[in-house]
Symmetry: C2
Subunit: 209 residues, 2 copies
């Protein structure tokens, strides 16, 4: 994985897609310039999860945009995804790496400075610094980092970082200025009237200066 692929990272969310097809959201977002996609499904059965993952794989592979699967290593293996994103309550990194092999991307959520220090000891491909702001997307998250916390997190991490939680057109500029490699966007794209336009707008902000 190239760190610049973290620049505008779409994380899918079924409820926040407002009843619209997830593959459509991704397709539109890709047209708008997203650089990486994470399929996150929390409440659907394995068969449905697999079918969406297969669709996204067909869509993204020809474009060279990495597809990561949230948490579910079985789904990642089944569709030969580019990797997984794991949280602190998911499979431990060592087991995930063993199951996926050395070449797959593994991203890890870090919720505080201690998590970052622990992640520094691991061969993860990036860390997702979460959350930067408090957000309605996830209700079980830790204390927000804020901009100052993110700046410290970026400095502390030996791995590329992507900022998540409250990323939108209002926050993106300040967040990118901390030096983080990118922003991971959920509702800002999934719930947008036009996921394509929303992605374009975010990318312009990220690329400003």
């Amino acid at each position: 994985m190239k760190p610049e692929q973290l620049k505008l990272y779409l994380v899918t969310d079924r409820p926040l897609s407002l009843g619209r097809d997830i593959a459509w959201i991704v397709e539109e977002a890709v047209k708008g310039g997203v650089t990486m996609v994470q399929l996150r499904e929390k409440d659907c059965d394995t068969r449905e999860f697999l079918e969406v993952a297969q669709k996204l794989k067909s869509l993204l592979k020809p474009l060279g945009i990495p597809l990561l699967i949230n948490d579910r290593i079985d789904i990642a293996l089944a569709v030969d995804a580019d990797g997984v994103h794991i949280g602190q309550s998911d499979m431990p990194y060592e087991i995930a790496r063993k199951l996926l092999g050395p070449d797959k991307i593994i991203g890890l959520s870090v919720e505080n400075m201690h998590d970052i220090e622990e992640a520094n000891k691991l061969d993860v491909d990036y860390v997702g610094v979460s959350p930067i702001y408090s957000t309605a997307t996830k209700t079980d998250t830790a204390q927000p980092f804020g901009l100052e916390g993110l700046r410290k997190a970026v400095a502390l991490s030996v791995h590329p970082t992507v900022a998540i939680g409250g990323m939108n057109t209002k926050t993106a500029y300040d967040v990118i200025k901390t030096g983080t490699n990118g922003i991971a966007v959920v509702s800002g794209i999934c719930s947008a009237d036009s996921p394509c336009e929303a992605s374009k707008e975010l990318l312009e902000i990220i690329n400003k200066d």
Copy 2:
């Protein structure tokens, strides 16, 4: 897998364990004579699922009692379980087999005669005929087979069968008399005052005659 290992098959259920430790339930049930164990977790996070699976693996491996994981092939791979049990909404058999390799046990739920005909074309190790009776354990299940339906299912299946749904000390005798290889018990053991005694009692009924 030997078909006789299906004889008294414990399927775990967290809510039906009434707040008691799942590893304790399994340990007691094993003392009482269960011949196979399926760890089924529907609402816990991956880390917790993994930790219970690791505990059960340590407990069951020295005893030679197969441990199967419901649905989650990643958990099965992570703990080197003996196999998985998949339902009609889980990973398709072919992908499960590819991920697990030729030597692992794969059991498949069948909910009607058509499912059995389809399963007959696959190299599954057993089919779980579900449900025999309507039950409070699962609310999303198909029309019950009943005893007569089970008899037909056993005759139709080219694979060993295990009956599930409403298996208890009242139903076990009639069910075993249909010729099925075993019964899969959920609440009859998980919710019993003594999972050990309940298992013993069920095994006596199964072995009667």
